[in-house]
Subunit: 347 residues, 2 copies
Amino acid sequence: MRAPSRVVFGRGSASRLPSALEIPERRAFLVSSPTVLRLHGDVLRSALAPRPVVEIEMDDGEPAKTFATLGTILDRAIGAGVRRDDYLIAAGGGVVTDVAGLAASILLRGVAWYAVPTTLVGMADAAIGGKTAVDHPLGKNLIGTFHAPSGVLIDPELLSTLPARRFREGIVEIFKTLLVARPEAARRMAGGLEATAANREIDAALEEAIAAKVEIVARDPRDAGERRTLNFGHTLGHAIEASGGFDRWTHGEAVALGMAAALRLSAAREGFPEGDADALVSELVRFGGGLAGGAPEWSERLERALGLDKKGTSGAPVAILLSDWGRPVVRPVEPAAWRSALESLRA
Amino acid sequence: MRAPSRVVFGRGSASRLPSALEIPERRAFLVSSPTVLRLHGDVLRSALAPRPVVEIEMDDGEPAKTFATLGTILDRAIGAGVRRDDYLIAAGGGVVTDVAGLAASILLRGVAWYAVPTTLVGMADAAIGGKTAVDHPLGKNLIGTFHAPSGVLIDPELLSTLPARRFREGIVEIFKTLLVARPEAARRMAGGLEATAANREIDAALEEAIAAKVEIVARDPRDAGERRTLNFGHTLGHAIEASGGFDRWTHGEAVALGMAAALRLSAAREGFPEGDADALVSELVRFGGGLAGGAPEWSERLERALGLDKKGTSGAPVAILLSDWGRPVVRPVEPAAWRSALESLRA
């Protein structure tokens, strides 16, 4: 684990990438997707000039997040003669930064890397905190490391080309972080998720969510305690996402539904204010309904996916609940409780 | 990087594996080779009882040290439902411990592992210090991590079944470590390499080499400074090994020749005592001659392999020389100097 990342936030900062992150004046290994290179490649290349740039393309999107893709990136970097003092730059969504970060952590026993997230989820969550990963056929993120990027550049202007459904995912992750760690900012955002999706005025909330995550990660880089509170909504969310084959609900939509179910349990068991929970649940279910237009029915597939969530150790399954805005607690939650909370979302 | 490893040394200690290393009373994931399981599997299984044991087999030997083998180990562990508080045990030579250690470091972002080296090289060197790796078609150990085992068990009785040529490899690595870091012990061992290969009385030298390596690794776990002195003999050694297709000279034989060449340069440039160097060079060339019966001629292939050595960064190539017994220095060494040193070994 390296030192915590430098995180630079600013509209238009992508054009100042090397000075903003103090990137060495050496050849750059740029890992990115064809889409991102088409949309933002010129900005990145001219920012990096006169450095030679080795471009390593990978598809974005969950199906590309595989051990085989990791192998391809390693092959390309080694084939181009990467050395210990070289570095990767990952420009793309969470899949690109997760896979490129893992490649950086195992190339020559670890080379430096920099992250330029181009999606709102990447900016708010995926690129911050040093978790790297690829998926395995039996579960998401089962192979990975902790390997913090040396620097993360957040340029909200890169979001101008982001499709609406991807933008909505980011709104959910931002709202989640604020609900867990920045209660005042969460209250300001509550009730306005749809409006934010429409007007895309996200900079202030995004910057606050990043600051909150950076603080929590600094206190718990290895995800052994407090950092797990950022999994709020994710235990059931991951299972919902998997149960819908990763397309009926996006990650963000599934997490919104997972947050709604966790808020129901929080109100019933932990004293989260009842009226606030009702309002948040109905907003989150509307916002996260996805192609199915709402929460799924309970199913065996969903229950099995809950059991495979890697966050668990061999003890009882635990989840994050809230005793109040900004007050997360870690509690055992049995599948039957998830089931009734989920079913209440369909009422 | 975890805390430094506990290293337990003792004849017969394999039968007390769990208590010696304080292995958790949970299911064990045992990564090993068919040969090691045939020779030592019963001892390990009965030591681990009543823990259930998931056996994950991989071939030993350099050709198995691949990204594909790594993928197979990950598949097997994930398929058996490995969780964050599970652990691997790697029992075998350096290839098994290197690959299993890498698997442990990227499974679920890192699970614990324990090493039970069964070769002399593994005991003296490979299993100590937390370097993990697989090879790439373009070079050895190009993919890996630093992920120290929680415990290492050294039981010299496991060596009773080790073939002679493998035993000789270990003698070279032990002598190398002593020459760099334990001058008195190195003087005791010098002149007796062949005798040690015959009588196999290695316990005292092995224990001292392990203690020396543990100390150096504790001061420089990430191989950023002092630890590199343990690469003495390895810069040219790796190139010789590759130039012979990994069978004319074993790793240990190639390192013995690399040490001989480095001693020539040490005497010529750094003041290493001339007479001592002459005696050591002739002993090492005899001892490390391998199937070719001596050192190789200089070749383009060898020069290319020198350039690919991953230890280098983009600056001038450096190597470890000795200004005296136990006094390593890091110096730039140009290929022409290696060439004449190597040619002098054939005189």
